[in-house]
């Protein structure tokens, strides 16, 4: 069947009114498939990085959520080794009133505010929590050194 009008409209709006720090381009041969780049939010350990993701709109979209995955390696408690993201709106909290734009904004927000209490990568979450507590005890800004290191290693040009 033809591509739903909603998808064409969303793509048009992503181009005409881009979101700062987010770039999403759909493939010419399959417009349901997107190459996404999210720049690491300022004042986060991901600052200065450019993270690549893939996004796919299944046939049942917008009734079913888009499938999103990080392609760039990232040290984050809610993102695992395979790039899978633990985010409620991509699972049971999906609503058809959400869209590509809001999904990508949520992922960007997840980079600013990781949630180590609902981890996907257990070791990272553990490390992250200890790091955070250590920083609070010392009265300094949390260093999250591993995340910074990985950002420089994998997400910088």
């Amino acid at each position: 069947m033809a591509i739903p009008k909603r998808i064409t409209k969303e793509i048009g709006r992503l181009v005409s009114e881009p979101v700062p720090g987010i770039e999403a381009k759909s493939h010419e041969e399959n417009i349901r498939y997107f190459d996404v780049t999210i720049t690491g939010p300022v004042q986060s350990p991901f600052e200065g990085g450019a993270f690549k993701l893939e996004l796919f709109l299944p046939d049942e979209y917008p009734m079913a959520p888009p499938k999103v995955r990080f392609l760039t390696k990232i040290y984050h408690p809610n993102i695992d080794k395979l790039g899978r993201i633990c985010l409620d709106i991509l699972k049971d909290k999906w609503s058809p009133a959400l869209q590509i734009r809001t999904v990508l904004l949520s992922i960007q927000a997840l980079l600013s505010a990781p949630n180590p209490d609902d981890p996907l990568a257990n070791d990272v979450a553990q490390n992250w929590k200890e790091d955070e507590q250590g920083a609070i005890a010392k009265g300094t800004l949390a260093p999250w050194s591993a995340s910074r290191e990985w950002t420089q290693l994998y997400a910088s040009n």
Partner: protein
């Protein structure tokens, strides 16, 4: 009497007036967008929490999750929602002030959603584009009871219900061996079912009584529509109905007569409760060779993957011969098998 604002617009000249009107309607259009399909809201329906969506969008949303797509507050049952949630004022408003967009939207719904769910044999004498329900084996004239709970099939059934009430039913493939990647995920032959009765349960599920109407063969599998299969199909009719050669007709009649006697024989000796159950579901042994051949193929207690072959045969004759061979095997395999009331189908 005109409102002061309106008369001021008029006095500013026609060009400015129409310009303002155009800007106003563009603005109105974007305000009256459905958050689900991003089109002009069509058959607007308002939720108890005050959010408005197209009726069909909200129905689809409700199939997946019983909360408001905008604010996640719980939604009432579909019956309550779609009976009391109609937004007449907004319908009137869009029809009056966005009449061009409104009619474009109707046309879009007609071509995208309704068209493929309105099967008209006179308009499509050889075949048609058909929505496909992959589930079970049904022969023409025979009933099929369905409990619909999967979101995609709720959508399919709703669309068919407002269309011609017809859809294609195809038996799935057995899970072993796994179908090859280039193979259809379902069988090649299927049956058009017509919905006779439909009951909507309070939570949106449906109980459906449908009946086989005619057979078809899948010519080409089309891309899915909103999660369910679509296929271009060709109708198939029995050759001995079309071809009227006397001698072959006689042969079919003889086979028909033998099968009828055989079924009557089984019925005479089989368990009474079993016969009643069959009669209740499939009706009494029908008149006519074609109807009898489908009836017999339906009640034989064999796996549907075996009985599927009867759906693919091009004539009543061959179907009767195949069914007899099944009955022969059953007779040899176990004497008096048809006496056994525990048998699942017969």
């Amino acid at each position: 009497m005109e409102a002061p604002g309106v008369s001021a617009t008029h006095s500013a000249g026609d060009a400015t007036g129409s310009d303002l009107l155009a800007r106003w309607s563009t603005r109105l259009h974007s305000e009256l967008q459905c958050a689900i399909c991003h089109n002009l809201v069509y058959r607007p329906t308002i939720t108890p929490c005050g959010h408005t969506f197209c009726r069909s969008c909200l129905e689809r949303g409700h199939d997946h999750s019983q909360v408001c797509p905008s604010c996640r507050q719980p939604l009432p049952s579909p019956v309550a929602l779609f009976t009391y949630g109609r937004h007449h004022l907004l319908t009137a408003l869009t029809r009056r002030w966005l009449s061009h967009e409104y009619h474009e939207r109707i046309l879009h719904v007609q071509t995208e959603e309704v068209h493929a769910h309105r099967i008209d044999y006179a308009q499509h004498p050889n075949g048609a584009l058909l929505p496909i329900f992959v589930c079970t084996l049904v022969f023409p004239g025979m009933p099929c009871y369905l409990h619909i709970f999967e979101p995609r099939y709720r959508l399919l059934l709703r669309r068919c219900w407002v269309g011609s009430r017809r859809f294609g039913m195809i038996c799935g493939r057995p899970s072993q061996p796994e179908p090859a990647p280039d193979q259809l995920p379902y069988r090649e032959y299927g049956t058009v079912l017509i919905i006779e009765k439909m009951r909507f349960l309070p939570d949106g599920r449906m109980m459906v009584l449908s009946r086989g109407e005619r057979r078809f063969r899948v010519v080409h599998a089309e891309p899915q529509l909103d999660g369910y299969n679509m296929a271009t199909v060709a109708w198939i009719d029995d050759l001995d109905i079309i071809d009227l050669q006397q001698r072959q007709q006689q042969y079919t009649e003889t086979l028909h007569h033998i099968m009828r006697q055989r079924l009557l024989h089984y019925r005479r000796f089989a368990d009474q409760a079993l016969c009643e159950r069959i009669a209740k579901v499939y009706g009494p042994i029908p008149e006519g060779a074609q109807a009898l051949s489908y009836w017999a193929a339906s009640i034989v207690p064999l796996d549907r993957y075996i009985r599927y072959e009867a759906l693919t045969l091009p004539s009543i004759r061959q179907r009767l011969l195949l069914t007899s061979s099944w009955l022969d095997t059953l007779d040899q395999h176990r004497n008096w098998w048809w006496l056994d009331s525990a048998c699942s189908i017969m």
